[in-house]
């Protein structure tokens, strides 16, 4: 098929997935993407996060550049206006005509706006695109009250958005209950009560008939039951309708109530035209979720690639958090099947409702509804998807605390069981990844993409990974090394609870042997995190890695580099001059670092104390570039100088850097503060990053650059200075306590059971009740800070330990340099030298 030209109409999530899959399957075919929206595909599922402070750009799934790299032509911001199946062409509203061999319609859907008198007023909006969000935000700015028409999944998300925008929020629903598609009546009622208790008013059985001018507000909604409701804006979210106009106009078969009819291969009535996603009608049904759309895209690609895999419908089970309430729906939630029976558990005080729908013989799970508590969702979904035989008393699956509740272990799942439905990863695929050498949770996630979509399967994935490990005899030994049968986390507690202040004491109490280069630095770090003693104290001296032991960074030839702290990258000309003078006098190679500091290379160990005496005299402090500790807090220039800055990013970065300097952690910590959402300080690539907005600071956590870059996650929004510092205190201390040795925050989060949501509960909602302790621990570290170099140069015995020889004042004569671009560099021994015209300079 390599010579074919494939045209894809629509660049939503499904259209984008199709394009990526097609390119992966066929490197050569021509691909053209035509989209009505001006921006390339973005994540519509997480649209509401924009209201929580996420910049719209962060939703992007791709970019024009990325498409270009993949050899995909894209034509965006110009909808297709006409399709001519006979000529095999499509023509856009802008008059461009494209020819195709195969055409894929991924035009999606549009929000249904009921035909109500006055429904076309400018205060009446819809909720589907990024542009819609902008319109809602703009309208909300001058509004006090907002109404969402439609109490379905999207409607409730939208209600949450209005609430976040500070509006008095109402939901108006035509049906007797909320989320009528996914929930039964009992579930709907519990959800309604919960949502009302969160301050959103719910009006069910209301048919809007007319929208007129209001008295106290801009609008008044009149309902069929003669009641009325005043509001300033209305968002319609009363369902979606397939965007099938193009297909209708060109004579393709469409369903009675809309939708382009497709077969098992996602082919329309014209065999050269496919339809996928929400515009397609399969088996009389529209699939309004992203996962089934992806499956359609894959089925269409497989057909084009000549190895057809059929689309046979898709599971519509969902689990989500709506306005903070957990809601899950599996299969036949209403119990419509013949002979279906239901078990119901309801706890009105805790506002929990669970319903199991089982087959007549009680052996098979047909559906389930969960409101207020979704803990059982993963297990129930597996019972449902894999038709696993239910236990003799199925009710035990939903009644909390039932003795001997049969937990559905990962071992019980068949290989075909879908673990991650976003990326369609089966248990078999995870097993295969193990066979290919990906042997831990983080590696499996990176390889299979499992649990990297909505993250709802995190707990299940972990249990599958654990099961794989144990059945392969790889029972994960989490001991830190042969000398301590404990994890780093456990050692941390032993040190804290046992009030242990030295490695020897810890080893005597809980370990064996002499220790090694794994446990010694790890324990040294734990001791420093807990007690913050001088790291070169006699008892700690031999534990430190060479960088910590020499308070400098060892380079390949045994010399060291020196990085004084330059908090936030702000430095006076006088101090800059001192750095230059020291570098010149000691002939040090000088380079600006990525963290807005200056690195001086090529110092021999015995030179370090004298260099630091000069730096300290000029007001410098150690920069901890050698330590697993806070490195830098980068900043942009912020509101003080920048025309766009909204807050003083430099001031905040200095405050943060000075607060956490010297904090020893499981790994290095980097931070940044940006003064506006242009994000010049690149805060989203840091372990913790701060971005100023009009309404305060937004905190992002667990990002990093490096080999496996990870974008930081938005953690908290609209914070004032004190709130920001308080949350960072807690976050950092929790990381310091619980991470593994040499585990960056990004990997720590990815391995944290419960993920980001759990972390938010612990840090923001204080679900474990430890936040006061975390803050106190951090304050102790802050209060006991010392510049390690200052302490060192004041101690002549310590200074002597920097001498290269114990019995001579000479330096290491093997350290030699040559020159390059006006500075020194290590002399490469002749055998390795690429060419031999080097000029020798003695070190």
């Amino acid at each position: 098929m390599s010579t074919k030209q494939v045209v894809v109409v629509g660049n939503g999530m499904v259209g984008h997935h199709f394009v990526e899959q097609l390119r992966a399957a066929d490197k050569d075919c021509g691909i053209t993407v035509i989209g009505a929206e001006p921006r390339p595909a973005y994540d519509r599922v997480h649209l509401s996060e924009v209201f929580a402070g996420k910049p719209p750009e962060a939703l992007a799934l791709t970019s024009r550049e990325h498409y270009m790299e993949l050899g995909i032509d894209c034509h965006l911001g110009d909808p297709v206006a006409a399709l001519d199946p006979a000529q095999h062409t499509v023509t856009t509203a802008g008059g461009h005509t494209f020819s195709y061999d195969k055409l894929v319609l991924a035009t999606g859907s549009y929000p249904f706006v009921p035909p109500i008198e006055g429904g076309d007023r400018h205060e009446c909006l819809t909720y589907r695109t990024i542009d819609d969000l902008g319109a809602i935000k703009a309208e909300a700015a001058s509004s006090r009250i907002g109404v969402v028409v439609g109490g379905g999944l999207l409607g409730l998300e939208c209600a949450n958005a209005l609430k976040n925008l500070g509006l008095e929020t109402h939901v108006v629903e035509f049906a007797p209950g909320l989320m009528g598609v996914q929930l039964d009546e009992g579930g709907s009622q519990v959800l309604g009560r919960q949502i009302e208790s969160l301050g959103v008013q719910v009006h069910t059985r209301k048919a809007t008939q007319q929208i007129t001018d209001g008295q106290d507000c801009r609008l008044s909604m009149r309902f069929a039951d003669e009641t009325a409701l005043e509001t300033d804006l209305i968002v319609f979210s009363a369902g979606i309708r397939p965007q099938d106009q193009l297909a209708r106009d060109s004579g393709l078969e469409v369903g009675e109530r809309g939708g382009i009819v497709i077969d098992y291969h996602c082919r329309t009535s014209d065999s050269d035209i496919y339809a996928i996603g929400e515009c397609a009608l399969f088996g009389g049904r529209i699939f309004g979720l992203v996962a089934p759309g992806y499956r359609m895209a894959e089925a269409a690609v497989s057909q084009l690639a000549g190895a057809p895999v059929a689309f046979t419908g898709a599971d519509m089970s969902t689990k989500l958090k709506l306005l903070g309430v957990d809601v899950g729906s599996i299969g036949d939630a209403h119990g419509n099947a013949d002979g279906a029976m239901a078990y119901v558990y309801s706890d009105p005080r805790a506002q929990v409702y669970k319903r199991l729908v089982v087959s007549e013989d009680s052996k098979t799970l047909l559906g389930a509804v969960l409101v207020g508590d979704c803990e059982d969702y993963d297990a129930l979904l597996q019972y449902y998807l894999n038709a696993i035989e239910l236990p003799a008393q199925p009710e035990a699956l939903i009644v909390p605390g039932t003795a001997g509740t049969p937990a559905l272990g990962a071992a019980a799942l068949p290989a075909s069981a879908t673990i991650c439905s976003c990326h369609n990863v089966s248990k078999g695929a995870i097993s295969a990844a193990f066979d290919n050498g990906f042997g831990n949770l983080a590696a499996i996630k990176a390889e299979t993409k499992a649990s990297t979509g909505c993250g709802g399967c995190a707990a299940l994935l972990k249990s599958v990974v654990d099961e794989q490990l144990s059945c392969r005899g790889m029972a994960v030994n989490t001991d830190i090394c042969e000398h301590f049968p404990y994890t780093r986390h456990e050692l941390f507690h032993l040190v804290r609870v046992g009030d242990i202040h030295s490695f020897d004491a810890l080893l005597a109490a809980h370990g064996s042997g002499l220790g090694c280069d794994i446990c010694k630095p790890a324990v040294a770090s734990i001791l420093a995190s807990c007690w913050n003693d001088y790291v070169l104290q006699d008892a700690h001296h031999g534990l430190q890695d060479t960088n910590d032991r020499y308070l400098a960074n060892m380079q390949k030839n045994g010399t060291y580099s020196i990085v004084p702290r330059v908090a936030a990258g702000e430095i006076t000309p006088d101090k800059l001059i001192v750095l230059g003078e020291v570098a010149r006098d000691y002939n040090l190679y000088t380079k600006i670092t990525g963290g807005q500091r200056i690195d001086l290379f090529g110092a021999r160990s015995e030179q370090l104390p004298a260099i630091w005496e000069r730096l300290i005299a000029a007001g410098f402090e150690t920069g901890h570039a050698y330590a697993k500790a806070l490195r830098t807090v980068k900043s942009c220039v912020g509101s003080t100088w920048c025309r766009y800055g909204v807050l003083d990013s430099v001031g905040m970065a200095i405050r943060i850097e000075n607060r956490y300097k010297g904090l020893r952690a499981p790994h290095k910590l980097k931070s940044a503060v940006s003064g506006c959402t242009r994000e010049c300080a690149e805060a989203q690539s840091k372990d913790f990053g701060v971005i100023a907005t009009e309404s305060g600071w937004n905190l992002y956590v667990c990002g990093n650059g490096g080999m496996k870059p990870r974008h930081a996650d938005l953690f908290a929004t609209d914070l004032n200075d004190e709130q920001l510092v308080q949350i960072i205190d807690r976050f950092l201390m929790f990381y310091v306590r619980t991470a593994d040795r040499l585990q960056r925050t990004s990997v720590w989060l990815e391995n944290l059971e419960g993920g980001l949501e759990y972390l938010k509960q612990v840090i923001i909602e204080d679900s474990l009740g430890i936040c006061a302790q975390l803050e106190e621990d951090m304050q102790r570290i802050v209060d006991t800070y010392q510049c390690e170099w200052k302490t060192t140069v004041q101690n002549p015995r310590k200074v002597r330990q920097f001498a290269h020889f114990v019995n001579s004042d000479q330096g290491d004569n093997a350290v030699q340099f040559e020159r390059e671009r006006g500075q020194v560099k290590p002399l490469v021994p002749a055998a390795e030298a690429p060419h031999s015209e080097n000029i020798l300079v003695t070190g």
Partner: protein, 109 residues
């Protein structure tokens, strides 16, 4: 043997760590290992064959599978303090004899 050179006092080497001594033109890494309240001394080449830098005295001392080792501070290979053998690669370092006379640490080739 018999050609002993005094390089330093016992207390010049902190317990469970090393220092580098200059013996003629040789750089020797001398380690003081403290077990059950007794000092043991070991000495081997200070030259790290993997990085080419003279830094082994700056490595961390410990045990791996009951072998006394120093870990190179550059690329972390382990060298047996008693035999000079590298645990990861087929390389042997020269070892030196060490004795303590009074408080003096003495080396011999």
């Amino acid at each position: 043997m018999g050609n002993w050179t005094t390089v330093c006092a016992v207390d010049d080497i902190p317990p469970n760590s090393g220092r580098c001594a200059l013996v003629g033109t040789h750089q020797v890494a001398v380690f003081r290992v403290r077990r059950t309240n007794k000092d043991e001394f070991y000495a081997l080449d200070n030259h790290d064959p993997f990085s080419g830098a003279n830094v082994l005295s700056r490595g961390i001392v410990g045990t791996v599978d009951d072998k006394l080792v120093v870990a190179s501070p550059v690329y972390k290979q382990h060298f047996c303090l008693q035999t000079g053998a590298c645990l990861e690669e087929d390389i042997d370092l020269t070892t030196w004899a060490v004795r303590v006379t009074g408080h003096a640490v003495q080396l011999a080739p």
